[in-house]
């Protein structure tokens, strides 16, 4: 019966996709004549993933199947799936764009995102596999009061996932609009419905395969582009870079970025500057703070942690991280060529003209490499990259929705509500709860995606990483490695970490401060008359260059004035930001450097100020289990150590307190 549903949904999605797309597009990067190509490529990807979902749906019978693909994923498969889960549109399109627009600084993002996996490999993946079951809260509940830790664990899982998810939805909606011209709301709904179809029917099995397929496509597309960009230089790295820094467009881009300080620099110096840090990051402390959030945040991302429950042993978990590091690292090396190649071949000005954030660098480069906007192959490449970008968004969102749905169904409903009432939920009931939670989260994500239109996706991703690094990471790390860690510590750490990260972001310069905007706007208006007079006089000059410059200045002035007027009108009498502040309280853009230590301190003091006999008594068990990996996953202590107890604890969601049960 489920299969019939899947077929029905697949057909509905295809029809909905095609018809709404035909109606809803405006103008995108893909030209009208070749739009069918994008849809064909995407329909092929869609057909493959839907077929996989159809096969997967047959295999989803228990909660373990739904949440963790029954533990039947191999290390290599999981490595690709982690890469598919992690390489979001932000890193694929965003980092390539940052490198294209700002050179070296963009590449520092790539490094941070990769180094993050060291933390996951060395400290988190294997113990989590040995201790956990379906969710992050499972790990926390192991030694501690299951009810309290499940509640805080579920809250922070949902918080992190919703920030991340909103970022994906907003970023994805905008991208799809720019790429193929489908309007924002339609693309958010399409992503949401597709993702729901995968997760609802295929659970983790389908999600895993969608992520694998997408990661393979993404890596292949990048490798082809890199090969085409690099081949003319005989694959010489210095040769490629030499050509980059001698490019006049790159040099003029650096001159624009540096402003007046670039006056005395030669062309060669300007080009070389593109390979040096400091064009994007201005405040050193921001850079370090962001770096910390990246390398510790990844280890606290619930949808990444959840992937380690899909393999059976710690060895396979280790293999998955190593494979993921190879794939992700290889991809990030490609971003260097994607970004630099786009800067040279497409030109930063052309990239920024389509999208100020630079997100179009990789797609435009693909088009150029294929032969340009008028060639078939060029459009095929653009169509392919656009389809991969869309598949990327769907795959990442599916992982996030699964993580939040598991927190909602497994932790809150089964683990707290029903267990609190002394009830045990049947295996069928658990799958049903998971599906209901998926629908709720899916509907929520579509709603939030539409409501959050226009929000800054980068800030939201930064916030997700900051909460994960400040709340989830200290709690998971200390409950695994510190004997004295207990319930109060976990609750304190989760609350303080989350509140600190969110709170500091809310008072940071990331928000909009109308007073400053209006002050800047008034300044523009006040200076208008003098500037206009100067440029108008220059119009009468003899030198044609000066006249051209004056005309350009006048056009820029008109634009600035109309923007200033619009700003003043838009903000009206509002003087304060969303938080009621006239100006930011702190100058830090990413809260990591403050909120991560606060999260750790909260776990530390929370634990030290209270005593929890159970947490200490179970320490030896956690300690032995995480090293030896005996009785992993499907076993609560009861089921493994006594053959008769196995059936009494269906699916073993609740590793309930041995002390209390006694």
């Amino acid at each position: 019966m489920i299969q019939r549903h899947v077929k029905g949904v697949a057909v509905a999605v295809l029809i909905l996709g095609c018809t709404s797309v035909q109606r809803a597009f405006a103008q995108g990067a893909v030209s009208q004549d070749y739009r069918w190509l994008t849809f064909t490529v995407f329909a092929v990807i869609l057909a493959i993933t839907m077929y996989v979902t159809y096969l997967a749906a047959k295999r989803v019978r228990s909660a373990a199947d739904f949440y963790t693909a029954g533990g039947g994923v191999t290390g290599l498969q999981n490595g690709w799936a982690i890469a598919g889960d992690y390489l979001s549109a932000a890193s694929f399109l965003g980092i390539a764009g940052l490198i294209a627009l700002y050179g070296y600084d963009g590449f520092m993002y790539s490094v941070g995102f990769l180094v993050a996996y060291i933390t996951v490999l060395l400290l988190i993946a294997e113990p989590c596999r040995n201790i956990g079951r379906y969710t992050l809260a499972d790990i926390l509940a192991y030694r501690n009061d299951p009810t309290k830790t499940r509640v805080v664990g579920a809250i922070s899982t949902i918080t992190v996932s919703i920030f991340y998810l909103t970022a994906q939805m907003v970023g994805g909606g905008v991208l799809v609009k720019i790429l193929i011209g489908i309007n924002y709301e339609t693309s958010v709904i399409c992503v949401g419905v597709l993702m729901l179809a995968y997760v609802l029917f295929g659970g983790m099995v389908a999600t895993t395969w969608v992520q694998i397929i997408k990661a393979v496509l993404l890596v292949c597309a990048s490798l082809v582009i890199v090969a085409l960009v690099w081949a003319p230089y005989g694959f010489s790295f210095p040769g490629f870079l030499q050509d980059l820094v001698s490019d006049p467009r790159v040099q003029s881009r650096v001159a624009t970025l540096l402003g007046t300080s670039a006056k005395d620099m030669t062309g060669a110096e300007l080009g070389q500057r593109f390979l040096e840090p400091g064009l994007y990051f201005k405040a050193p402390i921001d850079q370090i703070s962001l770096g910390l959030a990246l390398i510790f945040g990844t280890a606290g991302l619930p949808h990444i942690l959840m992937r380690f429950f899909t393999v059976r042993t710690a060895l396979q978990a280790r293999r998955s991280v190593v494979w993921a590091m190879v794939i992700i690292g290889g991809f990030y090396l490609c971003t260097l060529f994607l970004g630099f190649g786009a800067a040279k071949l497409v030109g930063s000005a052309n990239i920024a003209a389509v999208d100020a954030g630079g997100n179009m660098a990789a797609p435009l480069l693909a088009q150029f490499i294929g032969g340009g906007p008028d060639s078939f192959f060029g459009n095929f490449m653009l169509a392919f990259v656009s389809a991969v970008a869309f598949a990327t968004i769907v795959a990442v969102v599916a992982g996030l929705v699964l993580a939040s749905a598991s927190a909602m169904a497994h932790d809150l409903y089964v683990g707290v509500l029903r267990a609190g009432a002394g009830q045990v939920v049947s295996p069928q009931g658990q799958v049903k709860a998971a599906r209901v939670a998926t629908i709720i989260v899916g509907a929520l994500s579509i709603g939030i995606g539409i409501a959050a239109k226009g929000q800054n996706a980068a800030v939201l991703v930064g916030l997700a990483f900051a909460v994960a690094a400040s709340a989830n990471f200290p709690c998971v790390l200390l409950t695994l490695y510190w004997k004295r860690c207990n319930t109060s510590g976990i609750v304190a750490g989760m609350l303080v970490g989350t509140i600190a990260a969110v709170g500091l972001t809310l008072v940071s310069p990331n928000l909009t401060y109308p007073k400053a905007i209006k002050a800047a706007a008034h300044q523009v208006l006040e200076g208008e008359a003098a500037k206009r007079a100067a440029s108008t006089t220059a119009l009468d000059a003899q030198d044609p260059q000066l006249v051209a410059k004056a005309k350009k200045d006048l056009a820029a002035l008109d634009k600035a004035v109309s923007k200033a007027k619009a700003d003043i009108e838009n903000w009206g009498d509002t003087q304060t930001s969303f938080m009621g502040l006239q100006e930011p309280l702190i100058q830090l853009k990413n809260p990591g450097i403050i909120s991560i230590p606060l999260g750790f301190l909260a776990v530390l003091f929370g634990s030290l100020l209270s005593r929890d006999r159970r947490a200490e008594e179970t320490w030896n068990e956690v300690y032995v289990r995480q090293h030896l990996g005996i009785q992993v996953s499907h076993s609560t202590p009861e089921t493994a150590w006594s053959p008769t107890a196995g059936s009494a604890v269906p699916d073993g969601w609740n590793r309930a307190s041995p002390v209390r049960r006694r």
Binding site: L121, G271, I288
Partner: protein, 112 residues
């Protein structure tokens, strides 16, 4: 029965071989971790405060900044390689020995 299980964990944790495993693993893991974090943080710190050093050209137009960023990839992959070899040749072997001994002991002394 519950007590029996709890006691078992305690006994294993006091097993000298387990203690050895734990000590070796912790030393290795945290050492690697500290090194990786410190090495990584040199990148943003260097980019921010040692700009003059980072811009020195070493090979054609390639400068210290680029070499250092690329060296991060090498270090990350090297750590992954070293750790997986160390784990499979050392930690996993020791853990498997302890586990199989435990299984034999349980067979000899049937569950209550």
């Amino acid at each position: 029965m519950r007590d029996e299980v709890t006691m078992n964990w305690d006994r294993i944790s006091r097993d000298p071989r387990f203690q050895t495993l734990h000590r070796r693993k912790q030393g290795f893991l945290w050492g690697m971790m500290l090194f990786a974090v410190a090495f990584y943080l040199l990148l943003p710190i260097g980019a921010a405060y040692f700009h003059d050093f980072f811009k020195i050209r070493v090979w054609g137009v390639i400068n210290v900044a680029l070499v250092f960023a690329l060296s991060q990839f090498v270090v990350v992959w090297a750590i992954a390689l070293i750790y997986s070899r160390k784990a499979s040749q050392d930690f996993d072997v020791l853990a498997a020995q302890i586990s199989s001994d435990l299984a034999q002991q349980r067979k000899a002394r049937p569950a209550t």
